[in-house]
């Protein structure tokens, strides 16, 4: 399967699922943070458990992966500022009621202000690129 077309297809599935389960709904995300609605906690917990079980099945029965390469799991290292970055991300999550994936589903659904969250995210990534010029440890 061509990687670009494959990711287009999996992206459609991902966006559709996020939208149908309500992850693109401001009220559900902010409701989770203010302790009013825990549906999305259930979504994330289920996804983590299913993902973890799926990875075990993959390691046992589906190695090497389809292309014949050995499975290579990417690990995100903890850097000096990672925790501070995570906190900043959380601030944005609680303000917008969206994250980098769900905001895309919002845009597809036609939520106008989701487009501003999306534009802000591109600018935030640009700010990171600028900061990284002078602070390589970021």
């Amino acid at each position: 399967m061509d990687k670009k077309l494959g990711f287009l297809a999996f992206g459609i599935l991902f966006g559709f699922a996020l939208s149908r389960v309500g992850a693109s709904d401001y009220d559900l995300i902010v409701g989770m943070f203010v302790g009013q609605d825990y549906k999305l906690v259930g979504v994330m917990a289920t996804a983590i458990v299913v993902g973890a079980l799926g990875m075990q099945v993959l390691k046992k029965f589906a190695q090497p992966v389809k292309s014949g390469e050995p499975l290579k799991i990417s690990y995100k290292e903890l850097k000096k500022w990672s925790i501070a970055g995570a906190l900043l991300f959380g601030f944005g999550w609680g303000i917008t009621g969206a994250c980098p994936g769900t905001v895309l589903a919002q845009v597809g659904e036609g939520k106008l202000f989701g487009l501003f969250t999306f534009t802000g995210m591109i600018c935030g990534t640009y700010i990171y690129a600028r900061l990284k010029e002078k602070h390589p440890d970021l």
């Binding site: 494959g6 999996f10 559709f16 149908r20 993902g51 609680g94 989701g114 501003f116």
Partner: protein, 174 residues
């Protein structure tokens, strides 16, 4: 008919969304030996939309501008669109849940509010090395300590700002 309605019209129960999203982790490894993740692709969008070609980080990390990450992003947008079309909710709306219903701000202020939040998301995701999909789903499913830590602080941050917004602008009720 009932099944079609449950898939395309009614909101899914939490477990249905969780299963589909969770399965993406092993599936993307099986087919493409690639980790689930969205926020890294925003670097591609920076390269496409902003004058950033000379920034070192963009130059070294984003050699292929229209990489698979861009296709994944387009796919997620199309998935949201498809969901809206099939459930009969298609149309551009200026509503954003209880925020626009209760705060009653002019549209310009709403736009600034969500834009500023978006900046924090974009900047924070890059400094943290990932977002909800890459860290919280993919990373924790692989039992990575860095992802568990990142997710704890994602949630702490979200609890702080969501509660501040609720007390200051949404009347503290709800």
């Amino acid at each position: 008919m009932f099944i079609l309605r449950s898939i395309f019209v009614d909101p899914w129960p939490f477990w249905a969304g969780g299963i589909v999203i969770g399965l993406l982790v092993p599936l993307l490894y099986y087919y493409f030996n690639t980790a689930l993740g969205v926020s890294t692709g925003y670097g591609n969008l920076v390269k496409i939309f902003l004058p950033a070609k000379n920034l070192q980080w963009i130059k070294t990390k984003y050699t292929e501008t229209y990489s698979w990450r861009v296709y994944f992003i387009i796919g997620i947008i199309l998935g949201g669109l498809l969901s809206a079309i099939l459930s009969g909710n298609l149309g551009i709306t200026t509503e954003m849940g209880r925020f626009t219903a209760i705060a009653g701000w002019p549209a310009v202020l709403n736009a600034v509010f969500f834009f500023v939040g978006g900046i924090l998301l974009g900047l924070g995701a890059r400094i943290a090395g990932g977002c909800t999909s890459g860290h919280s789903i993919h990373g924790i499913a692989n039992l990575h300590i860095s992802s568990i830590l990142a997710t704890i602080f994602f949630i702490i941050g979200g609890i702080i700002t969501a509660n501040i917004v609720r007390s200051l602008f949404l009347g503290g009720a709800w």
